[in-house]
């Protein structure tokens, strides 16, 4: 989906500073939010791609306001609510109670985990089909308009590149995030020249990005 998360090449985000001594977690809650985020896929019966899509489904304000682990916390809640492990509104209600406010907590949810099969652990798969592209092939990133989850960023959409490596085949996140199957595919590293992406005045650079076979078409 064309969401805020799709940040490659966007402008207006300012500068970034490196603090070589920053702690892994700046606060106690960040660590606990991380841990519950990491556990939320298993608890909700979903998967890594659904978690990434949950990040994309957050309203941009929610995405930004409490930083990276704020997103993890919000995604854990979203997946647990989707799967009926906790009721919608339960976290905020409990938080208000912890703050000493007198609020009603929502009644129990009805468990509703997604039903789907996995062809193995992790994301990599062995597939029988021969790769459709070879190293050196000229390709175009397809002009796709996916409203759900996809790992094709918008900044290469419709742009021409060259295959530079064939990587292990893997499940297609566009499918697994929505529990519609695995659709395992070959994955390629494709090289794009910066001027192809950002115009003739672009800083010279090579951009290498991994694309699933169905994201690509021959040129």
């Amino acid at each position: 989906m064309d969401g805020l998360h799709d940040m490659g090449g966007k402008q207006g985000w300012g500068t970034v500073a490196v603090d070589p001594d920053e702690p892994v977690f700046a606060t106690e809650w960040e660590g606990r939010a991380f841990a519950m985020g990491a556990m939320s896929g298993g608890l909700s019966g979903t998967n890594l791609d659904a978690f990434r899509h949950a990040l994309e489904r957050l309203h941009p304000m929610e995405y930004l306001i409490d930083g990276y682990y704020g997103r993890w916390l919000a995604c854990a809640e979203l997946l647990l609510v989707d799967s009926g492990i906790i009721p919608a509104g339960a976290v905020e209600a409990r938080a208000q109670k912890l703050l000493g406010n007198d609020v009603d907590e929502p009644t129990e949810a009805v468990e509703n985990k997604p039903q789907y099969e996995r062809g193995g652990g992790g994301s990599l798969r062995q597939i029988d089909a021969a790769p459709g592209f070879a190293v050196g092939d000229k390709v175009r990133a397809r002009d796709m308009h996916v409203s759900g989850h996809t790992r094709m960023p918008s900044y290469i959409r419709g742009r021409d590149g060259v295959v530079s490596a064939i990587r292990p085949a893997a499940v297609l996140p566009d499918a697994t995030a929505h529990f519609t199957g695995e659709d395992a595919q070959h994955v390629y590293t494709v090289d794009f020249d910066s001027t192809t992406l950002w115009g003739p005045d672009a800083e010279p650079a090579t951009l290498k990005i991994d694309l699933f076979e169905s994201y690509m078409e021959a040129r």
Partner: protein
């Protein structure tokens, strides 16, 4: 007010975290020990010191380096480094001709078994948006002036391959052993926003 869908008096993230943990604990789905264990693992056991050992060995041992470049996953597995966000490790080597830098523009994918959890700058929208469009300028702002004669290659981690930069070994380190070499290698150098200095 437009655009902000969050309740005006929403509880702070710290309290909402506490609330979620309490609810899941009551349901028997999590316990404090499990959460503490996961935190402890990423605070103390997994971090850039892992990647630094890999880099030092690659500098010191040409045969290991060959294995590392041809099958990163297997080579780092020799150290026992594996697990989530490390399914397929690809090592890319900096040289006099090419400087490599890694990003995940869509989220913040990162080689956890080698580097731990990503630092703030890696997750910052400014890094994610700019390094694919003006890498030389951004690296300069971050303190790394890439030599004008070097090409820059940016790796966007858009699938499950995790890229790891093998920095150039600095001059004057001929007499150091692996442990001493590892102590020089920073997280930033293994992502490509810094170089290793002796």
């Amino acid at each position: 007010m437009t655009a902000n869908p969050l309740p005006e008096n929403r509880a702070p993230a710290a309290i909402r975290t506490e609330a979620l943990e309490a609810i899941l604990t009551e349901k028997g789905l999590v316990n404090a020990g499990g959460i503490d264990g996961l935190i402890n693992r990423f605070v103390n056991d997994v971090g850039p010191m892992n990647g630094a050992r890999v880099v030092a060995k690659a500098w010191a041992d040409p045969e290991f380096k060959e294995r590392l470049m041809s099958d990163g996953t297997a080579a780092v597995g020799e150290f026992g480094f594996s697990g989530p966000q490390g399914e397929h490790i690809v090592v890319v080597e900096n040289s006099d001709d090419t400087h490599n830098v890694v990003v995940c523009t869509l989220c913040s994918c990162y080689p956890w078994p080698l580097l731990g959890l990503p630092p703030n700058w890696y997750k910052d929208p400014a890094y994610r948006s700019r390094v694919v469009r003006e890498p030389r300028k951004l690296l300069g702002e971050m303190g790394l002036d890439v030599a004008p004669e070097k090409d820059i290659t940016v790796w966007d981690s858009s699938a499950e391959n995790r890229y790891f930069v093998l920095p150039q070994r600095p001059a004057g380190t001929e007499d150091l052993d692996e442990e001493q070499l590892a102590a020089l290698v920073t997280r930033e150098a293994m992502v490509g926003v810094a170089v290793v200095q002796a």
